[in-house]
Amino acid sequence: MTRVALLRYPGTWSERDFQHALSLIPGVETEILWHEDADLRGFDAAIVPGGFSYGDYLRAGAIAKISPATKALRRFADDGKPVLGSCNGFQILCEAGLLPGALLRNAGLEYRCDWIHIRAESGRTPWTAGLAGQVLRMPIGHGEGCFVADPDTIASLEERGQVVFRYTDAAGVATPDANPNGSAANIAGVSNEAGNVVGLMPHPERCVEALLGGTDGYRVLAAVTRALEPAGRAVYR
């Protein structure tokens, strides 16, 4: 059994969607943990879901970074355990310094709510094992998703394979039109140097059943169970 912790901060809103999404994967057990007393001992992976933690006050994800849950998450990540942050979860991981870069207001200033395509650029993370080169269709919903970092950091991310997802068109080409928010180099998701911590702006938990318009999110969530239990077989829906 793979045990996945879902962290809930005040204002987190995607934890139940993640719980439902993960319930579709055989051999996965989830628990939602309140940020004040989150104890990650005994868990195999942790997810920071999206939402508006602390109302996005100050900066998206800024106040969540000093929560006890984020301290626990830092230890968990240092132990090499898989951590995924989606949308506001990605913003929190960047603010906390668990991931490089920062997420700014979208270049067009608009909140973007849409279906987009991303290409998995690296298969070395537990969340993208077996997905390298695959083009995935996923929903986004964010106002602050413009990934930025200084040019040296971007170059080093590219060089070390830490760019995990890139916005592309349906054919997998990273064009300016395919970039929904002005992110540097069309970056939609990155990892830490070790590869166990991954953040992305799109919402894998919102595309896990045909009824929801797509199933590519299931592939990302199932990848981690494959990575943790190589003998287990995740069923593709």
């Binding site: 920062a102 700014l104 930025v148 200084d150």
Partner: protein, 85 residues
């Protein structure tokens, strides 16, 4: 001692400021010859510290750890002893 710190947080010059760009366009539409707009924020913190040195150290913690994100923002501050109410 009670101190009041006024922190000015600005997006780094090399980082895009979409709010500033939107305000720039709007100001031009008023017929003004505006060439650049940068936005930022002012944060006023009232706090206790033993002396000015401790107060300065406290502001650095506030700025570096929470109130500004060093990846995208710079900040400066003014520090003053609070005037008794």
């Amino acid at each position: 001692m009670r101190y009041v710190a006024t922190l000015h947080v600005r997006t780094k010059p090399e980082v895009r400021d979409p709010q500033g760009e939107a305000a720039l366009g709007a100001l031009r539409s008023l017929g003004l010859e505006v060439s650049n707009v940068r936005t930022g924020k002012e944060i006023v913190v009232t706090f206790e510290a033993a002396d000015e040195g401790a107060a300065t150290e406290a502001i650095r913690v506030m700025g570096n750890e929470l109130l500004a994100n060093p990846v995208i923002e710079d900040y400066d501050y003014d520090l003053a002893a609070a005037t008794p109410a």
